[in-house]
């Protein structure tokens, strides 16, 4: 397999084909900067031997230990790691935003030749927004809800410049235009709640870049956004970065994003830097075992055909599924929302159907209707011939065991006050199985999900997210269902844990010959796991068919736009040859 040439460009917004890329010189951008603004080695940010302590009682002594890296002018350095790796802490340390609980106990942070490791509050305030800026993850909560967007950008100018009010207003409008927000005058007068997630993130970027800082720190800025919006924001950041020559320290856990925009990559693990280098080196020829393991865990966007048994019996058939929410109030408008419109699906035994879509597409609603956690407004849901869509509770109960669900959030899927054993046997005991037999089955299933039987007597809080998710899978399997529904079941997991759980799903499906319905917004995961695929948008299925067909040759405009927006989609990550993540042969 040939390795495609390095392509730091990102796909352009919906519809249009990706533009040809020009490499921009890394010299000084227009607007002139003094060469004394760089550190001795030409970098604008230098972190050397940084160590930040954790308060007593944590799982380790330091949040960050002896981390060193630089960010050069006009360079994008991605700081990647799984949760708990300390990447956010480093970002906050640079900005001086660390809480008192987390003191810097060693090392230096040097910004444009100035050591700011223990800078005073006044100096830090002077540097923020003028030399270094930060944008955060959740645009919903990162903006003050009671101030207009314009005022929030204006604040930055008021604080750091002597400009007059009309001058500031002009600058605000200019930067709002530059972040490609339509109708700048209206945007400036709007409140954050009137804007969409992507628009809010653009406002944040505007606030951060209005004074043209040399360093932009981006802490997972696109994690909370939809795929298509994410692509737009990444493209915007790239554009602005190139135009102003800003150095960017980009924090993320998504390797697709790294592949899309990074120049250099730093890999963190539990507070330590394990690998640092140019993107191609780290992602395709990783040296450290941990990085190698991470690269192997990233699901690839495969488009090769998988054999499908067309003769297998149909386990689930959904016809004309409809769900309408009617918000009736005494006074005020009646809001009718059609969350699901006329959806048709089919899953055969031993096969996995994936439903992909962005938020608000209705995919979760479909899953819940199938499991009857929500009552459908119309249509039929046939499980092995029995239509459960409109059955009353009593008649539904015996049929519930046939379809089971695994949820997204492993931290809320188990009652914290009940042991694992109690959680596992609850289901079968409801249907009359003797407790002793149920416990026996529970032990066997724990083994199948590769957990130690000693877990039975423990409480959920003693397990990690990945382990909890396995317990939830075991709980679902205790009922011996015919259909297993996974509602974003791996979305909340780190990439390495995600790979393990995905391989577990694959193994279970094969051993038990289960039919599976896999809901996800992550295209990589979908391509890894699914045999057939349905793409949903605004409550409707816009395209469906065998996975390789939908991925390889998407017909509908929305599908094409969705796939085009997937970050790093043409990038081939390093993988151990011959390793198939879905075969379940990987170690846990």
């Amino acid at each position: 397999m040939t390795i495609p040439p390095e392509r730091p460009a990102v796909a352009s917004p919906q519809g249009a084909p990706p533009a040809a890329r020009q490499s921009q010189p890394r010299g000084g951008p227009p607007g002139g900067r003094r060469s004394a603004d760089m550190n001795g080695d030409g970098s604008i940010l230098e972190v050397r031997g940084l160590t930040i302590a954790l308060p007593a009682g944590g799982d380790r002594r330091s949040a960050v230990h002896e981390v060193s890296f630089e960010v050069g002018r006009g360079e994008i350095v991605c700081l990647v790691g799984e949760s708990g790796s300390g990447k956010s802490v480093i970002a906050q340390a640079v900005m001086g935003l660390l809480p008192r609980l987390l003191p810097v106990t060693g090392g230096r942070i040097v910004l444009q030749g100035e050591d700011i490791t223990h800078a005073g509050a006044v100096r830090l305030r002077q540097l923020r927004a003028t030399r270094m800026s930060m944008i955060f993850q959740e645009p919903m909560t990162a903006l003050n809800p009671v101030m207009t967007c314009g005022d929030q950008i204006d604040e930055v100018l008021q604080q750091h410049t002597p400009l007059s009010a009309p001058q500031r207003r002009q600058k605000v409008l200019d930067i709002v235009r530059e972040v490609l927000l339509p109708e700048p005058e209206r945007m400036v007068a709007s409140y954050p709640h009137q804007l969409s997630g992507g628009q809010r993130q653009r406002i944040m970027i505007a606030m951060a870049l209005v004074l043209d800082p040399v360093l932009l720190i981006a802490d997972e800025p696109t994690t909370a956004l939809d795929v298509t919006t994410q692509a737009q924001i990444l493209h915007l950041i790239l554009q602005l970065q190139r135009r102003h020559g800003t150095g960017v320290l980009f924090i993320t856990h998504d390797f697709g994003v790294v592949a899309e925009i990074a120049h250099r990559v730093a890999v963190l693990r539990l507070g330590e830097l394990v690998e640092l280098g140019p993107k191609a080196e780290v992602l395709q020829r990783p040296q450290h075992a941990y990085t190698q393991m991470l690269m192997a865990s990233v699901p690839t966007l495969r488009v090769d055909a998988r054999p499908l048994d067309a003769q297998a019996p149909v386990v689930l058939r959904v016809r004309g599924l409809d769900k309408t929410y009617d918000d009736r109030r005494w006074f005020g408008q009646r809001r009718t929302v059609r969350a699901v419109k006329d959806v048709n699906l089919e899953i055969r035994r031993g096969q996995t159907l994936g439903i992909v879509g962005e938020s608000g597409s209705g995919k979760s609603t479909v899953a819940r209707c199938i499991v009857r956690l929500i009552d459908p407004s119309g249509g039929a849901v046939e499980l092995n011939g029995d239509d459960i869509a409109h059955l009353p509770a009593r008649r539904l109960r015996p049929l519930r065991r046939r379809v089971q669900i695994v949820f997204q959030d492993p931290y809320r899927s188990l009652n914290p006050r009940r042991t694992v054993a109690e959680a596992l046997v609850e289901g079968p005991v409801n249907y009359g199985l003797a407790r002793a037999s149920a416990l026996q089955r529970a032990r066997a299933l724990l083994e199948m999900v590769r957990m130690d039987a000693s877990a039975m007597e423990r409480y959920p809080h003693q397990f990690s997210g990945g382990q909890r998710q396995r317990i939830c899978i075991a709980r679902a399997l205790m009922m011996e269902p015919e259909l297993l529904v996974a509602d974003e079941a791996v979305s909340a997991l780190d990439v390495s844990v995600q790979a393990q759980v995905l391989s577990l799903f694959g193994e279970i499906r094969r051993r038990l010959d289960l039919a599976m319905l896999f809901i996800t917004h992550d295209l990589r995961v979908a391509s890894q796991v699914c045999d057939t695929l349905a793409v949903m948008s605004r409550g409707e299925v816009v395209e469906s068919g065998p996975a390789h067909q939908v991925f390889g040759n998407p017909q509908h405009g929305y599908t094409r736009a969705l796939f085009a927006a997937a970050p790093g989609r043409d990038f081939a990550f390093a993988s151990t040859p011959g390793r198939d993540v879905t075969s379940g042969a990987a170690p846990s």
Partner: protein, 313 residues
Amino acid sequence: MLKFLARRLLATVPVLVVVAILVFLMLRLTPGDPAAVLAGDAASTEQIAQIRATLGLDRSIPEQFAIWIGHLLGGDLGQSYYYKTPVTTLISQRLEPTLSLAALTMTLAVLVAVPLGVLAAWRFGSWLDRGLMAFSVLGFSVPVFVLAYLLIWLVSLKLGWLPVQGYQRIADGVGPWLVHLILPSVTLSVIYIALIARVTRASVLETLGEDYIRTARAKGLPETIVLKRHALANAAVPIATVVGIGIALLIGGVVVTESVYAIPGLGRLTVDAVLARDFPTIQGVILLFSFVYVLINLLVDLSYVFFDPRIRY
């Protein structure tokens, strides 16, 4: 926004209806003949019969309710058989002292409590913060009347600075009016200072933990601006809420304070009416207080429109 206002207004209607029903039922639940109870212990059989006729007590319950509501909406709260005057007259006579006391207390409470609460939140974990928390627990634990007597003993009896009891109407001079109200309002305000300061502190703390505060700091804004423009502006809604609740709770506190300081207000009226089993007056006062409570909550809700643009648009 207009829809929000209209909806809030309409939401008060069911509450008022429930209050009316509850007050109506209260009398009917007394053991004994409601007419005799209403007439008082010293009434003659003719008087009792007359009451029965006026209120239609021989008719069905829903009809009685309708008659009673009819009187209510016409402004007729019945006749006090103890004072031999219409209840509405009694109330209007006693309104000024209670209003004065309430207004003074609340103003004092808000002016002291909100800044204290904000300060405590800003200096979280400091001695000031902990001191305030300790004081606030003390504040709403010590009963009003105990504190009242303590202050009277200290300030009036030992130091002789202020009069012990009594009330002076404004019409007779603002000076004496104020002087007589200082001790009562200080006594009563202690509870509300404790309560409001607590909740203010809690909501400012919660606001300070929000993401947009981090953004504001990341923009290089000084702490005072972060506090004022970002934290307080968002904490205004819960603070307004608790001030509203405080005003509502005030009504209960007024009863005791007026009793101790011999202020001839609505609180004293209620107690006297209860001791004399003067039901028309009891009913009238309860209805009035409940109506005021609902009104205040409505005003607080409407104030949200001013504080929170998410409601405006």
